[in-house]
Symmetry: C2
Subunit: 349 residues, 2 copies
């Protein structure tokens, strides 16, 4: 990464979907893999990353575990001023309830210590264990109020359950009341989704992650989560998991479906699906360093709704930063994109 093509910029580059792991978490993950785990997604993802000898997974594991010099030097080499860190997927969500609660606490403590060592370079999102929604809400509150974290990280489904079930809503209530965002990050697709993807190697970041996460966001919308919590802020990576592309069709089909009473579960909402996408959702560019899609999202979501992310260490390509430095938007707009949108959303200043 020497001779990096990334130059200085007149804005801070804040990367908003940047992953880390703790040694304790990987120990728990290795245990799960050894004794067998009832999650084809976890088996596919972490069976690969933790056991493969190939270059890419080996590098990723090393980088996930570093919250010090190696990470800072990678950030320097790619011109990243600050990372918003979150415990990598599926975080605590694949564990039994007690282990998940314990890991959320210890991971948040480790994260807060790393931030305390490098407060100008790191900020972070709190892990929590939706397996116990009240504990999750309390840990989110502890993370924000006591540890100075800037929101929560939700790695999609929780052992195949999505958070449109009202039993989880105490978590959203806490986030709204703390006025911090929840980052809805991909995870391997739930058991009811994964099989036809897994058969052809399409369950991961190439396709399955986006499907599962978009479905999760959409389930939250149609379940009325944003009617119940109108100030709740949700962040989606990968440019909104393609939901911005579908805004017109979501509105059309939601209206038509509600009008024809096709589903017991699909009730009228106060607003159109696209309204929630534009008023409650923010999207980041993790893994999508591609001008046409970024500008499309800025166009349909609004310039205040699109934030820079690298997706380190899963994506670690200096040229992708250059691509986004060179977006054909004004300097003021690029400053929003790289810096001030993140500062406002995560209350960094």
């Amino acid at each position: 990464m020497s001779g990096s093509p990334v130059g200085k910029a007149p804005y801070k580059r804040i990367a908003t979907e940047e992953a880390f792991a703790t040694a304790e978490m990987f120990k728990l993950y290795r245990n799960l893999l050894e004794r067998g785990v009832d999650s084809p997604a976890f088996q596919s993802l972490w069976g690969f990353y933790l056991l493969s000898k190939a270059e890419r997974p080996r590098q990723i594991i090393e980088r996930l575990l570093d919250l010090g010099d190696r990470r800072l030097s990678d950030m320097d080499a790619t011109g990243i001023d600050m990372q918003i860190l979150s415990l990598t997927a599926p975080g605590v969500q694949v564990l039994g309830t007690d282990a998940a609660k314990a890991l959320s606490i210890s991971a948040n403590d480790e994260l807060a210590e790393a931030i305390a060592r490098h407060p100008a370079r790191f900020a972070g999102l709190a892990a929590f264990a939706p397996q116990d929604p009240r504990h999750a809400a309390k840990e989110l509150e502890r993370g924000v109020a006591k540890l100075g974290l800037k929101g929560g990280i939700l790695n999609s489904h929780v052992n195949d359950e999505y958070l449109d079930d009202p039993k989880f809503w105490t978590i959203f209530e806490a986030a709204e009341s703390l006025d911090v965002p929840i980052y809805l990050h991909p995870s391997g697709p739930s058991k009811g989704l994964i099989q036809p993807m897994l058969e052809k190697g399409l369950d991961g970041a190439i396709f399955g992650f986006g499907v599962d996460t978009a479905l999760h966001a959409l389930r939250l919308i149609v379940a009325g989560v944003f009617d119940r919590f109108p100030r709740l802020k949700l962040v989606l990576g990968h440019l909104g998991e393609a939901l911005p592309f579908w805004l017109y069709r979501l509105d059309y089909m939601h209206r038509a479906t509600v009008a024809s009473n096709r589903y017991e579960s699909m009730k009228p909402l106060r607003k159109k699906p696209s309204d929630y996408m534009r008023e409650n959702v923010y999207v980041t560019t993790s893994g999508m360093a591609w001008e046409p899609a970024i500008k499309f999202c800025q166009d349909v979501m609004g310039l205040d709704r699109v934030l820079y992310a690298m997706d380190y260490p899963y994506e670690f390509v200096a040229q992708e930063v250059v691509t986004q430095d060179n977006l054909s938007i004004s300097l003021e707009e690029r400053t929003k994109f790289f810096q001030t949108n993140a500062e406002k959303l995560f209350k960094l200043t």
Copy 2:
């Protein structure tokens, strides 16, 4: 629809994903529903359309069955010069093999008769029964060579099987050799995908159709169908089921996955996934009458690759035609979009 807002245009408006049904097909569908069918997607979709008393499904059923005056008058009211007709999803693909073969033949004959009555207004795509791939290839050939049809219609999976399985490839071989496109149309998601969508009313056009069809197209790409049949042409509705939005990530993650040998099934391809999307795939605007997404696709796929479609009678909104008449592209480009791209792809002149 009187006082239609659609004016005359200096181009022919050719709508490329327009559905019909035969009375025989609906009789078979009603039988399936009565005796119970092992397809939650079919139960959800046709259980609703055929049994609901609501206005929308009733109107749609009536319009699907009409290949005469009512359809022509609807076309006149929305300024549509020509419809490319295809047997509505899942067509014959939910039936047993013998019934599917018989229905493909009779539906193609009925379609050819309607086209013979109105050759300036209708063209069509041949139904075929992938349940018997050799019969399907022969029926596609009969449809094109004997009946003058312009390609084939494939309604996504066939009782939960996708056509990346080489046992189906004789169908692609026939399409390539006849030099006609296959329209890969959505169907209700396969059993391995549908459950978490169905739970919240998201299995249909609002979300599940796009997931299943995009997955199908992607499975064809990563299985090497376009390496084996480099001149095969595939048409995707709904602006490519969001695959154009993912082009960058598809390439990045396919390369990374192949390089790390993560999946036995994911082999190197001759080209990037985005190359096949741009060289073998065409997309239509069915259900996506929205300028930002249309222009995005024209930008990343090329102006020759994006064709107009209404999705009649599922969508039948004059204003959507006006929206597309008013796309901020040149008249020459709009002529391609509404007329000449379709004339070339389907060899209409």
